[in-house]
Amino acid sequence: MMREQSFSLRRVGAMTLRYSYLLRSSYPRMLEMMYWPLVQMLTWGFLQAYLIGRPGGLAGADATAIGAGSLIGAVLLWDILLRGQQGFSFSFLEELWARNIPNLFMSPLRPTEFVVSMMTMSLMRLVVGMVPVTLLAIWFFGFNLWALGLAFGAFFAILILFAWSVGLFVAGLLLRYGLGAENLVWSLMFVIQPLGCVYYPVAVLPAWVQPISWALPPTYVFEGLRSVLIDHALRADLMAMGLALDAVLFALAWWSFSRLLESAREAGSLLQTGE
């Protein structure tokens, strides 16, 4: 008898193939993946142009930061975070909507393989949705996210790891509590927006909120972005802290997912998934 491998790229490939079939089956959905990031980019880009261009406008550090693209840069990075998590969660929701969970969990597919396939799809969805928008940002507003080079690589790594941690935690809740938890997929990340200081420095927050903000990896990215744009310096300390927090949060998310999966088996809810 052939021994089953404990982790199989073939099975990850099978799941990625399944999600890519879904993606290709609906061009309106593919366009929608670009639509919201584009709307956001245009809105904040024009606001930035207005703030810079109005008579007697911004001065000092605000002018420097916004003139360098801190608003449009932040909105693009925010969309990487938001769409990264939603891309992960959307793949999982597809299984619940299709009542396919029992088929998957009684197949040889391991939970790790399932999770890796959702991470892969999250990246593919980002490529489809975000790459064109970042290129349009160069054309419309002269802001080139790619020109941030190594800094962009670090920002992306921190944001996507956090996005996957949130996605994994929500997936566990969906397994355990079913589609009653679906709203979390669309809303949970928005709690991060004010606390993660996407558009303003942490110093703006009340003193008692600041420790909460610094406990979130995205805060280090948005502070780091402002540092790169204003001081032209990549703060390695911020990036290291962001990645370290990510590692802790991802481990916690994985533990929660595993516990919620076991709890779903205890409660018999894996057989009752779907609408």
Partner: protein
């Protein structure tokens, strides 16, 4: 050498949800190549029992051995050799039949995916539907697709939860014939939960009767008819469901 290890052995298997006992401690073993019916009314514990054997529901107590190995400790050594079908579990509607089968073939490590799909499509009369979205099929066609998925890895243990529910008699009979074919070709062990007594009489060489989560009888269909003094399993089922004298008398 023929193996005497049962394909499936459950010992003292039970499931409780809080104070509610869904399945009382039950023990049975299925020899390789046998077809066993799991009979009982609504809420008798059939789906819970099958769910535990599939690894989707954690038992409260007891053990499950599949192909001689402890399934609760090492489910993945068995899952590639099993499969299941139920009308209450679906496949992604927007994928075509071919795409759905291709995904499951790869999950189960089927060697020649295209040839396997073509063979199954031919034997289950699905060839003309292969490139149609699964959501646009009739109930009978969907059942055939679900059966194709259940047979994609040539399972040695097949779990079926009311496989012919909501099918017309002709389609249901056709599905039973395909299951008999598969059993004979592959020496497959089948555990079949059903409300359809004619189906159980035709397919099963043994019947486990469940009532309110308890295994109340376990015998070949002919033995059950003799024991309850009945001419068909439907009457036996009613005797058990209504608590009339039978096995105990």
């Amino acid at each position: 050498m023929a193996s005497s290890t049962p394909a499936l052995r459950v010992t003292g298997l039970s499931k409780s949800y809080g104070a509610t006992v869904a399945v009382h401690p039950s023990s049975f073993a299925l020899p390789a190549g046998s077809v066993t019916g799991l009979l009982g009314g609504n809420g008798a514990g059939k789906t819970t029992t099958i769910g535990m054997i599939m690894g989707l529901i954690a038992p409260t107590a007891g053990s499950i051995e599949i192909f001689g190995r402890d399934f609760l400790k090492d489910r993945y050594s068995a899952l590639g050799r099993m499969n299941f079908e139920s009308p209450y579990v679906d496949m992604p509607h927007r994928l075509t039949v071919r795409q759905n089968l291709a995904v499951f073939a790869r999950l189960y490590g089927v060697a020649d995916v295209e040839a396997k799909i073509a063979g199954l499509a031919e034997s289950l009369a699905l060839t003309e539907f292969l490139d149609r979205p699964s959501g646009k099929l009739s109930a009978g066609q969907k059942t055939r697709v679900a059966l194709a998925k259940a047979l994609i890895n040539d399972p040695e243990l097949l779990l079926l939860d009311e496989p012919t529910a909501s099918l017309d008699p002709d389609t249901a009979d056709w599905v039973r014939s395909r299951l008999e074919d598969h059993r004979l070709r592959r020496n497959c062990t089948i555990l079949l939960a059903s409300h359809n007594m004619a189906e159980v009489e035709r397919l099963c060489d043994r019947v486990l009767m469940l009532k309110a989560g308890r295994l109340v009888d376990d015998a070949a269909p002919a033995e059950l008819l003799a024991r309850y003094g009945r001419t068909n399993l439907e009457e036996v089922f009613l005797d058990v469901a209504r608590g009339r004298a039978g096995a105990a008398s």
